[in-house]
């Protein structure tokens, strides 16, 4: 018998994403989509499934679906067909969900996912459009149906345009799965297809998990449902892989089943398999005509597509001379990238990258503010970087100034004047340096015989005397001149 150490386990993970599309109205009726309103305030006979009502396709949703498909390198179908997926549930008013089955809007594609220093290519099997179900609210202690005293349905969400993206089972690790989910979110946000906020349920993720058999074939897969944060995607998958490994190590076999990750206990639980033993009896939706997607329309959509994060990252490296890491940080958030480009157009792009990916980003993270609403506007940032470049303030003073700008939105120049942060420069700095030389003869002597380390001490003395309002670089320059002469 093999021991755990002898056997190597290769995870095989496929993901299934559900993404809410950023339309203003629902998939098949005119009701507005508003998150967090009073229950059942955005409903009509159509999305309540009243007798005699009919669906009408939201064209914007088709456009966003095509955009997403293009961004994921898919083939956009010339013809797509909506189909009915039949099953009973209180959150499904018609008793069927209008979805797509054998003729989805997009087929075959891929997503290049940065995982650490590598790039993992994840295949996309298909992308299709459907309507979301409503939301069941279970009244009672547990908040789940089991053991609840009653259930209510909020139909505000019912009929939200939903895009399902299914990947190939070629994701090698929970870490890669998390990165893939995160990268997908970035792309969806960048092209404006979805806010893809997992907390709001705008991006949901299920997974198929198995462990490859020693002979290379796929093992029995299990389905892991509703991991509702990026962290839980990784943790849930890790737990499930551990569970499967445990079974295999003890000589058992993995059973095909559906599981649920519980973040509170950090464990996976089996759902009653009966609930998922469905024959959905798909058939083409007779109330809707097949979608005809003309090549010209698809090309027109493509021409209007915003730049994708990967392309933008490459361009930042190329055009601005940034490191791939900095480019990655700046393009991870589309608003931050826009901010950066506004600043980089006016000042040294590398300086801009340092200030924005460093100081500004940590201020944003601490405050939870959005960069697009920040009082530290691109104009203020440009002004600040110019002050540093021109030696008007020291780098460390500038750090204080950006903090004030971030709080107040005031001009950096005004803050510098008001707070007396102007750089000690010219004659004044020269005088301070002479005083420092005079006061530290021993150290000066050691520098003169080549002990460069002591330079740091002397510069520190200069900074101390100017209360930090000196440019370190300039101080060093003047100091060296004086010592040489």
């Amino acid at each position: 018998m093999q021991t755990r150490e002898e056997r190597t386990y290769q995870a095989v993970i496929g993901l299934e994403f559900h993404v809410h599309l950023a339309t203003t109205t629902k998939m098949f009726c005119g009701c507005r989509l508003v998150y967090g309103d009073e229950p059942n305030t955005h409903t009509c006979p159509v999305c309540l499934g009243h007798p005699g009502t009919l669906p009408v396709i939201n064209e914007k949703a088709i456009e966003l679906g095509v955009m997403a498909g293009l961004a994921l390198n898919c083939d956009v179908a010339e013809r797509a067909v909506f189909a009915r997926k039949n099953y009973f549930y209180p959150d499904l008013p018609k008793g069927y969900q209008i979805s797509q089955f054998d003729e989805p809007i997009c087929n075959g594609g891929h997503l290049d996912v940065p995982v650490g220093d590598e790039t993992v290519r994840v295949g996309i099997t298909r992308l299709h459009l459907e309507e979301d179900a409503a939301k069941n609210v279970h009244v009672g202690v547990s908040g789940r149906m089991h053991g609840s005293v009653g259930s209510m349905v909020d139909f505000n969400r019912g009929g939200t345009p939903l895009m399902e993206i299914v990947t190939e089972p070629d994701i090698p690790s929970p870490e890669a799965a998390r990165a893939a989910a995160n990268h997908l979110k970035e792309i969806m946000r960048a092209i404006g297809v979805s806010e893809a906020d997992m907390e709001k349920g705008q991006l949901r993720c299920d997974a198929n998990v198995s462990i490859r058999n020693p002979d290379g074939s796929f093992g029995t897969k299990t389905e892991l449902k509703n991991m509702n944060s990026f962290r839980f995607v990784e943790r849930g998958l890790a737990r499930e892989l551990e569970r499967q490994q445990g079974i295999l190590d003890s000589g058992g076999t993995v059973a095909q089943t559906t599981l649920h990750y519980d973040p509170e206990t950090d464990e996976v639980h089996e759902l009653r398999s009966k609930e998922f033993a469905h024959d959905y009896r798909y058939f083409p939706e007779p109330d809707l005509l097949p979608l005809e997607l003309s090549e010209a329309w698809v090309r027109e959509i493509e021409s209007r597509m915003p730049e994708l994060p990967d392309a933008m990252r490459a361009r930042f490296v190329e055009d601005y001379g940034l490191s791939p890491y900095d480019a990655g940080v700046l393009t991870a958030d589309r608003d931050l990238a826009v901010y950066y480009e506004a600043v980089a157009a006016e000042v040294d792009p590398k300086q801009a990258a340092n200030w924005i990916s460093g100081d500004l980003r940590s201020l944003l993270n601490e405050s939870g503010e959005e960069v697009s609403n920040s009082k530290a506007s691109p104009e203020r940032m440009i002004e600040l970087i110019c002050l540093v470049r021109d030696g008007a303030i020291s780098r460390s003073a500038a750090r204080d100034v950006i903090g004030r700008v971030f709080e107040t939105g005031d001009s950096p120049t005004a803050i510098v004047e008001r707070e007396g942060l102007a750089s000690v420069g010219g004659d004044e700095l020269s005088g301070v340096i002479e005083e420092v030389i005079a006061a530290n003869p021993d150290e000066v002597g050691r520098v003169k015989v080549g002990d460069k380390k002591v330079m740091g001490f002397l510069i520190g003395q200069v900074m101390k005397a100017t209360r930090g309002n000196a440019d370190g670089g300039r101080a060093r320059e003047i100091l060296l001149q004086k010592l040489d002469s």
């Binding site: 009243h50 007798p51 005699g52 058939f283």
Partner: protein
């Protein structure tokens, strides 16, 4: 006034000779007089009729009304009527009051003078109106016989003079067959010509709303009222609505009329065939070029229909689950609630079709049944394309027999399904078809069916008008 056609009454209303209010009163009175015997209406709406008729009269005084307005109408209980109980002939919708009006009724005009909602086979499934959860409707020609179905209430109401005209729905003959059995005109327009929004779906790919009227002119006028594109129905045709009355009296001279061989065989009663032959002869005398035409797949049409329609209804009826509207049986747990509600709410035929359809769509059976049926449907469409490239109008009986006795077929669903053999081919192809009374057999009315290509209703109505003329049958002949 009760003997006038709807078109004639409409004219008198516009000319001020009769008021819409008076017409509504007369219709209400007629309902009181005959309804005990006929049972055509599930929900009579006498006050609503009078109130709306009064508004029509007022609008007429203040300007004008549309040519069809003011004439009292009955509407099959499958069409959604805002604020007025709509049951679909089912217990599951016993107390259901819709929030909106069907688009066909909206097209009709502001103040539809509604006399009542008519009885029907539950969810339009049946050919005798015996499948109504509210008891059968009786044929005014013989109270021991069925009026046909599923729009039997509408057909019987028109034949009995409870309102001048009616709306029915036709999925596989449900307007045409009862029209034939009650001696009135029933038109199934081209699929998509009239919006389905508000038609509580049976077979979504087949359902059509159609006029049921005293004569062909009334049919043209009522189609004019309800036809048109509707942005709420993606399958409604975005094609201009022609003037259906303009060429109505144009005759059949030079028109090529093909008698459908497969629908004139021994499955059709001899008396029925005789009436059809007589009308064909009359059309030939009136100048039509008559020939025989074959629709080879017509033999398989019924089988295909009885897979496609149940498949669609099995899904369409899923929304009746007791959660949001209609009947709800209390139970411990949602699945048990579904089971009890649907067990009690649906009748036998509805359950039978749900099971048939569910089976046909099940994994492992889909290809053998549903896909196969769709292939037959495609062949049927091709048959019609070939036939209609050579003939302008195709002709056949509407139903294989005259009205049968109540209870005669209710224990034999297959015998009942055979009532649809002549009607179903046009339904599968989506082409327009009309049933016109052609004469009597055994003292009961026989319908002659005319069919033509998609959106050629003006020509179809012209041919139907000629057939009506040569048949010698008149609405006033009714008992």
């Amino acid at each position: 006034m009760l003997d006038l056609t709807a078109a004639a009454l409409a004219q008198k209303i516009r000319e001020g000779e009769v008021s819409s209010h008076e017409a509504a009163e007369a219709a209400n009175h007629r309902v009181e007089e005959v309804e005990d015997r006929i049972h055509a209406l599930l929900t009579p709406t006498p006050e609503i009729a009078l109130e709306r008729a009064g508004r029509v009269d007022e609008r007429l005084r203040n300007g004008g009304i549309k040519p069809w307005e003011g004439v009292p109408l009955v509407v099959k209980d499958v069409l959604s009527t805002k604020g007025i109980r709509t049951t679909c002939g089912s217990k599951i919708l016993d107390d259901f009051t819709p929030l909106y009006d069907a688009s066909a009724l909206v097209n009709f005009g502001e103040d539809l003078v509604l006399i009542g909602k008519t009885n029907m086979d539950e969810f339009a499934m049946g050919s005798s109106t015996e499948n109504s959860a509210y008891g059968p409707t009786r044929n005014p020609w013989d109270l021991g016989r069925v009026p046909g179905g599923s729009s039997g209430g509408s057909a019987a109401a028109v034949a009995a003079g409870e309102g001048w005209w009616a709306l029915g729905t036709d999925t596989g003959g449900s307007v045409r067959q009862p029209a034939a059995l009650c001696g009135i005109v029933g038109l199934k327009p081209t699929y998509g010509r009239v919006s389905r929004y508000g038609l509580i779906a049976f077979g979504s790919s087949l359902d059509c709303i159609g006029p049921m009227t005293r004569d062909v002119r009334d049919s043209a006028l009522l189609l004019q009222a309800i036809a048109g594109h509707d942005s709420l129905d993606s399958t409604s045709a975005n094609a201009e609505v022609p003037d259906y009355l303009a060429d109505l009296e144009g005759g059949v001279s030079g028109l090529k009329v093909g008698v459908v061989k497969e629908l004139m065989d021994e499955r059709i009663d001899a008396g029925v065939r005789g009436v059809v032959e007589n009308v064909v002869g009359g059309l030939e005398e009136a100048g039509a070029e008559v020939g025989e035409v074959s629709l080879p797949h017509a033999y398989y049409a019924l089988e295909a229909y009885y897979i496609i329609a149940p498949a669609e209804i099995s899904s369409n009826l899923s929304r009746f689950d007791g959660v949001r509207f209609g009947l709800r049986e209390t139970a411990d747990g949602v699945h048990e609630m579904y089971r009890r509600t649907r067990e009690r709410g649906f009748g036998d035929e509805a359950k039978r079709r749900i099971m048939l359809g569910t089976y046909a769509l099940s994994s492992g059976y889909y290809d053998a049944y549903y896909s196969q049926a769709q292939k037959v449907r495609t062949r049927m469409i091709r048959d019609f394309r070939d036939a209609l490239s050579r003939y302008d109008v195709l002709i056949s009986p509407t139903a294989p027999s005259v009205a049968f006795e109540i209870g005669a077929k209710s224990d034999d669903p297959l015998a009942m399904y055979l009532q649809d053999i002549c009607a179903v081919p046009a339904s599968l192809a989506g082409i327009p078809a009309i049933s016109v009374p052609g004469g009597l057999s055994e003292g009961l009315p026989v319908g002659v069916q005319l069919m033509s290509d998609h959106f050629t209703e003006p020509m179809l109505l012209r041919a139907a008008r000629a057939a009506e003329e040569v048949s010698g049958f008149a609405f006033s002949q009714r008992p």
